[in-house]
Symmetry: C2
Subunit: 134 residues, 2 copies
């Protein structure tokens, strides 16, 4: 069984993080937790604390990254939500047994060392969902 | 000064809420808080509890609703985040004085009776932001 504990972050796909990052920091006074490059996914991230969850800005640093492909197809904008689950392996098993198609059938390592797995967007039409476990 | 208290909800623009609603309820076991029609905005909403925040599915019930126009232009998908602020009037004043353009310069009434105001997306490129106060 899956146990969803909350939304870990909301991911935004951007060409450049700079402009939105500046507004979130200087106008909305959100705390900038940090920046991290995830080479494997070809992205540079900027993470902001919004008290109950986080906003993750995703800037593509490689032409064939998933973010770059997404922007070519849909333009920049809100990309995915990450749901924290109690046990990611149990969650994947539960989802697959309910005919949900996983992009990642085994967890990989994401930002801040979380175990993460993406669900195929066709299984949750209109909302790309990442599941993650700290 | 603006004081952001958290993300109240994440809004998803859909032609029909049914398919994603069913998956969130039956597969992810999220609590369905309720459905509400907001005539003024031409939408039918389905709201889910995700512990620390909410997911709001927005189905257009009018051809000239903002959601309908959004879907025509960008397709269905993640639409906006709503940030809870301590005082919405103070927040609007702060944003305007920082050259942020408001769609709603005065708060209007949204789902669950919240006072809400949308920011023009050109001011926060890549992320449509609603601010709200309970």
């Amino acid at each position: 069984m899956i146990k969803v504990l909350g939304v870990e972050h909301i991911g935004i796909a951007l060409d450049k993080n700079e402009q939105l990052s500046k507004v979130l920091k200087d106008v909305f006074n959100l705390e900038h937790i940090g920046s991290e490059i995830i080479e494997e996914q070809g992205v540079n991230t900027d993470i902001f604390n919004v008290s109950n969850t986080k906003i993750e800005l995703l800037e593509s640093i490689s032409k064939d990254s998933p973010i770059s492909k997404y922007i070519s197809k849909y333009g920049k904008g809100m990309h995915h939500i990450a749901l924290i689950v109690e046990d990611i392996n149990v969650a994947i098993e539960h989802l697959v047994s309910n005919n949900i198609v996983m992009i990642d059938e085994k967890p990989k390592v994401g930002v801040e060392g979380y175990k993460i797995a993406f669900i195929h967007p066709n299984s949750t039409p209109g909302l790309l969902i990442e599941i993650c476990q700290k």
